[in-house]
Amino acid sequence: MSPRNRIFPSARRTLLHTGGIIFVKPRELKSLSEDRLIGAARGGDRRAFSELVRRYEETVYRYAFKLCRDREKAEETLQDTFINVYRKLSTFDGRAKFSTWLYTIVTNNCLMKHRSRKSRALEESLEALEDPASWPGGKFPHGIARWEETPADLVLARELRVQIESAIRKLPPDYRIVFTLRDMEGKSTEETSAIVGISGEATKSRLRRARAFLRAELAPYMHEGRTAG
């Protein structure tokens, strides 16, 4: 069997094998599977890489925006991400999904732009919230007020949208990343752990603290009803 047959048996009609580098005919790019596209891009085919960019640019931009909360930073992250992907593509070993690897690169690019001392102080205060000493008899330290119904339409109200945006921006990056991946991108605990490079337990505790923080930030604006209990 020739090397050409071994590499792409079902697509040999559409592929040219030249000097160890696999090039895909431009008109076939859109229908090529992701694995083959990655293989071709790793082999130096920049048109194949261009097709990868086309498939993922919207996903990367939206995720970057959700993390950065800023169009300009999201655009900068988009460009940095694909430049990094191009440079590191030879290190992608296919053990993880390509999208998982891509999310990791976006996440790291955003983290580099956001780390600050202020965030660390807030992270410590989030951890302190779970100190059993501040839960008398294991019960909530203060009564929990019940929120009134909050239909999604309410979010369209400008005042509330501003408050939500402000709450997300205050969340330290490590927590915002986990919250975004789990609750906004719909990733599983396992995939989130793989993207961020932390244990499943750490993912769960960051998600718990992130949700609790966001809830506490929004509580004053939620037309709290009668105090429960």
């Binding site: 640019e57 999604a152 949700r211 429960a228």
Partner: protein
């Protein structure tokens, strides 16, 4: 099970109906504890509101700027030169 235990573990089960022993204990506690019920409902509302925020799409201009950046970094090939290469173009 105490409120602190529910606070710690309820997040894992926010949208799930799991039948594990711990989930059953949480459910039992929630039935009896208005504070924990209110807390869990408000967490659900928080997540639902944030999910419903509108997010921008990548604009045409931002897409073009990205292509320029990737070409100048050598990641993408130069744009194809326009020319009467197709039959349709030659007919025009």
């Amino acid at each position: 099970m105490k409120c602190l235990d529910v606070y710690i573990h309820v997040c894992e089960n926010l949208d799930q109906r799991l039948g594990t022993r711990r989930c059953l204990q949480i459910r039992k506690h929630l039935e009896a504890c208005p504070d924990c019920r209110a807390y869990m409902e408000s967490l659900k509302s928080t997540v639902a509101m944030i999910r419903s925020l509108p997010h921008p799409r990548l604009s045409r201009a931002a897409h073009e700027r990205m292509l320029v950046a990737l070409r100048s970094s050598g990641c993408l090939p130069p744009p194809r030169r326009p020319g009467p290469r197709t039959r349709a173009a030659r007919r025009r």
